[in-house]
């Protein structure tokens, strides 16, 4: 289904992709049931069984789309983000500041705090509306920082009281002569936080991509979740220049996305941008599985070479890279032999990490995905990372979909009893695993597992955390969770909690 970039609001991913946030079973079953969403109808080999979302009466605090949208707007350079919200929504800016400064250090940007202002809506604004306050804040943002772009992020409160952000943005844009991009990321609009990626990418596609630039014959867009540039070393030998976007971008890199030969996405949770670039700007999206593990990285490089017409030396690059890492990969495989791992991350990224663990020879029978997209925006089956995992590497018998729910994660870990956990969104999951006595590798920068070097990076990182078991076990033996005994012993994340009436 085509993306509608003509309207200011992005459709949520449950509307576009049929995203679910609760499920438990074998990964192979989830992959088969997801196929229905692609429109295979009765041709599905499971007899056309629909993907059925599980439910549970108990739920714990999760994350919202606003946080994703706002964080990723804030780390765009030369921007000011205005959160049109009560002050609490802005609380995440203290984290974003740390994140931005770390990115700046790694990328060689000017070391400074990102700029974000909250309109600080209070009770009287709930009654009388907050538009005047928003307008004044936009003027103040302009006067203070003279940014090149101002983002306005909506909030649950501003959405419910119905403030007309669009009109305010248009009139202030005319008054100040600065690009103003509204972000419709009210937390209640989508049940999953990853919709926040779509919101910021929608805004970028509508307003920040240049329509005038000339094609650059060697430029390739790489859309990633954040972190250091691990792509240039892979793509430079093919004669390609990496245009690294999202996860911290300059406005120039965003503008010139339309000038690239192709786009690759490092996690199909972010597929909105690549699909939009193909659909509205004619930049083809590379259709290949994600570059996790040796074989898929080979395929990924070959596909990029093919789309950009640079097949000349791709086989030589692949051979050289494989040879380069072989001895260290062997050492790591030996060191990890007999270990059992557990992965907790978001959808496609989780699938990638699972491939990495299996490539490293680690046993994995359980995984935890923070949501599940039955389809990607391109609709292309090569982007079905779950099927790719199951077909290429075998089933994951216990595959749980849950939006980082602490109580379900506890049950899933009780069921699996792994030797270590690799996870993203380290707040809930990492702390939980640690307190259960399990060494944990939190992945802050999601590029760590990518490509040939990713196997080495992740493998070494796991080996670094395994010895910490003595610390975690000690803590585990001396602390307890606020759950009742029956739940502490439960191994089914979706065990019935309230008997049916």
């Amino acid at each position: 289904m085509a993306l509608n970039l003509k309207v200011p609001q992005a459709e949520t991913r449950e509307q576009r992709l049929g995203t679910i946030i609760q499920w438990d079973g074998a990964a192979s079953q989830l992959a088969r049931d997801s196929a229905f969403t692609h429109g295979c109808q009765k041709g599905c080999d499971n007899g056309g069984r629909r993907l059925c979302e599980a439910s549970t009466p108990f739920s714990q605090a999760s994350m919202c789309a606003e946080q994703i949208a706002v964080t990723n707007a804030t780390i765009i350079q030369e921007s000011v983000v205005i959160q049109h919200s009560p002050i609490g929504c802005a609380a995440s800016q203290t984290f974003t500041c740390r994140y931005y400064r770390d990115l700046a250090e790694r990328r060689g940007w000017k070391l400074e705090d990102p700029k974000a202002i909250c309109t600080n809506l209070i009770e009287q604004d709930m009654v009388f509306g907050g538009i005047r306050k928003l307008e004044e804040t936009i003027r103040e943002a302009w006067e203070r920082h003279h940014p090149k772009v101002i983002f306005i992020a909506a909030s649950c409160a501003s959405g419910i009281i119905g403030d007309d952000i669009e009109s305010a943005a248009r009139s202030l844009e005319a008054e100040l002569g600065v690009v103003i991009v509204p972000l419709y990321c009210e937390g209640f609009r989508s049940k999953h936080w990853s919709s926040g990626w779509d919101v910021i990418e929608h805004g970028i596609l509508r307003r920040l991509v240049s329509r005038e630039g000339k094609k650059q014959p060697d430029l390739i867009n790489v859309i990633h979740l954040g972190g250091p540039d691990v792509f240039s070393p892979l793509l430079a030998p093919l004669g390609l220049k990496t245009n690294l976007v999202m996860g911290g971008s300059t406005l120039d890199t965003l503008a010139q996305m339309s000038e690239a030969q192709a786009t690759v996405t490092m996690c199909f949770v972010l597929s909105y941008l690549a699909t939009g670039l193909e659909q509205d700007y004619g930049v083809p999206e590379v259709k290949a599985p994600l570059p996790y593990g040796l074989a898929d990285t080979d395929r990924w490089l070959r596909e990029i070479a093919s789309v950009t017409g640079r097949q000349g030396n791709v086989e030589a690059v692949i051979a050289a890279e494989r040879e380069r890492i072989a001895p260290e990969l062997e050492r790591i495989r030996k060191a990890l032999a007999g270990k059992k791992g557990f992965v907790a991350a978001g959808a496609a990224f989780a699938h990638g990490l699972l491939v990495v663990l299996r490539e490293l020879g680690v046993e994995v029978d359980s995984a935890f995905s923070y949501h599940h997209d039955p389809a990607s925006d391109s609709g292309d089956p090569t982007q079905d990372t779950l099927s790719n995992l199951v077909d290429g590497w075998g089933d994951i018998p216990n595959y749980t979909v849950s939006p980082d729910q602490h109580f379900q994660a506890h049950a899933a870990l009780q069921r699996s009893k792994p030797d270590f956990v690799v996870c993203r969104h380290s707040g809930t999951f990492a702390s939980l695993a640690a307190r259960m006595g399990i060494p944990v590798l939190p992945i802050f920068y999601s590029n760590d597992g990518i490509g040939y070097q990713g196997l080495i990076t992740i493998g070494r990182a796991i080996l670094r955390v395994l010895p910490r078991r003595r610390f975690y076990e000690d803590v585990s033996a001396h602390s307890r969770f606020p759950y009742q005994k029956w739940w502490l012993e439960e191994t089914d994340p979706f065990a019935p909690i309230i008997e049916p009436a």
Partner: protein, 456 residues
């Protein structure tokens, strides 16, 4: 709305203007205060990101106090916004009582139920009537901040859980209302030190929050206390006034949390006198503490006097933080170390009615030392005041939050993080108040001074 800009170097920011560099949470952020009570669990009726956002900002990355979040939440979505969320909350509470174990549950609302008009109180009351240990606090995010929310949850627990009491008072028992848990990165160690020194003079203490507290049982014992001690410029006053009316408990208000022997001794004597304690044990405790304290101070005086005189020892202090620590630290620096006050800013938006008394405290920091305190929530404006202030002839030192990193660099001053957000400090039980805390504050301050002079 008043104008947003204020170009002078004095005076406060207009209320409820835009805020750059956020320094506190919303009303719902008081869920951190509930989590701070051992045995209590908040149940949040709000949007999907509200509770984690508050907790991670206040605890997870604020001095890395702990980020494990298991707070039940309805994670309200479109359906609840359109059709109402009371049924979903009802289901969540029932499930929570089946899955979680706690001595007390505090149901807190966020913005959404406030705006769509969910009748949360009725839902919670049904469970209370059935004997569940559960109370309700309206903490819609737009109502205030985590400071006012803190008093809201205290009031809710007192009125709905501690219940009515007109039995005999426990002669030596005091309820202490002081620092805001989690917001202040040092609250755990500080409350432990406050408890220690109050017990040292012979009191029994309901410290109410943190590792030094016995948890919900202390809250049940609130009505039995002889008096309340409000140890902060304003936070806790509303609660103490309520307790005065409700249980006839008088309260002692000490605005400045004491740091250092001189101020702590004075504080303990004031409390002892208010509580009617016999003076001998009090003086004996103070003497014992002072003996230790001044041995360390004597040795530190060699450094302070200049045995390593290449360091630029600060002469003027700038503080940007919540009023409790701004006042406490300012007093210590002025009274104990002989530093001069520069710009002093309180960032947490204290109630108008309490501002004059806070100003009076700063006007008399130490004998002959006067300071002005400005109430400014917006970091950009706070920094402007500092940058445009006069440092002629002085070496400044900045006490503040991570947001002051750039400011401190700009004016060439060391930064000591004492306020939210503190992302460059890992704090476990460290304390900066009382006798022992003062020594740690000296250690941290002058370590920062030495590093500033020698590294980079």
């Amino acid at each position: 709305m008043p104008p947003l800009k204020n170009t002078s170097l004095t005076g406060d920011c207009p209320h409820s203007g835009p805020i750059e560099q956020v320094r506190y949470g919303c009303t719902l952020g008081a869920l951190a205060s509930v989590i701070a009570i051992p045995g209590a669990v908040p149940i949040t009726h709000c949007g999907p990101g509200c509770a984690t956002k508050q907790f991670h900002a206040l605890s997870g990355i604020n001095a890395y106090q702990g980020g494990e979040c298991y707070v039940p939440s309805t994670n309200m979505g479109n359906r609840e916004v359109i059709f109402g969320g009371a049924d979903r909350l009802d289901e969540l509470i029932a499930a929570t009582l089946r899955v979680m174990e706690a001595d007390l549950f505090v149901v807190q609302t966020g913005c959404i139920p406030g705006l769509i008009g969910d009748d949360v109180e009725s839902v919670v009351n049904r469970y209370r009537r059935r004997g569940a240990p559960i109370v309700f606090a309206d903490t819609a995010g737009y109502r205030g901040n985590n400071f006012t929310g803190h008093e809201t949850i205290a009031r809710a627990i007192i009125d709905q859980h501690a219940r009515d009491y007109d039995g005999p008072k426990h002669e030596r028992l005091v309820n202490v209302w002081s620092l805001l848990p989690y917001q202040n990165p040092f609250w755990r160690g500080d409350l432990a030190e406050i408890r220690r020194i109050l017990e040292g003079i012979g009191l029994e203490v309901n410290i109410l929050f943190g590792p030094a507290s016995d948890g919900v049982s202390e809250w049940k014992a609130i009505p039995r206390a002889k008096f309340n001690l409000v140890l902060s410029p304003w936070l806790g006053l509303e609660t103490a006034r309520h307790l005065e009316t409700k249980y006839g408990q008088p309260f002692l208000h000490v605005p400045a949390i004491p740091i250092g022997a001189r101020l702590t001794g004075r504080f303990l004597r004031d409390v002892a006198s208010f509580a009617g304690l016999p003076p001998e044990p009090v003086e004996a405790f103070i003497a014992r503490e002072e003996r230790d304290y001044y041995l360390y101070l004597r040795d530190f005086s060699a450094f302070y006097a200049g045995c390593t005189s290449q360091y630029r020892l600060p002469s003027q202090f700038v503080i940007i933080g919540e009023s409790a620590y701004t006042l406490a630290v300012a007093r210590f620096l002025a009274d104990q170390l002989g530093l001069l006050p520069g710009v002093q800013i309180a960032t947490e938006n204290p109630p108008d009615t309490e501002r004059d008394s806070i100003r009076a405290q700063f006007a008399n920091l130490a004998e002959g030392v006067h300071a002005d305190i400005a109430f400014i929530e917006d970091g950009f404006e706070a920094h402007r005041r500092v940058i445009e202030s006069d440092f002629t002839g002085h070496y400044p030192v900045v006490f503040g939050s991570t947001w002051e990193g750039e400011l401190a660099k700009r004016i060439g001053a060391p930064l000591i993080e004492i306020a939210h957000p503190a992302t460059d400090e890992v704090v476990l039980s460290r304390s900066y108040v009382g006798y022992r805390g003062a020594l740690q504050l000296l250690e941290r301050t002058y370590t920062a001074v030495v590093r500033e002079s020698t590294v980079g």
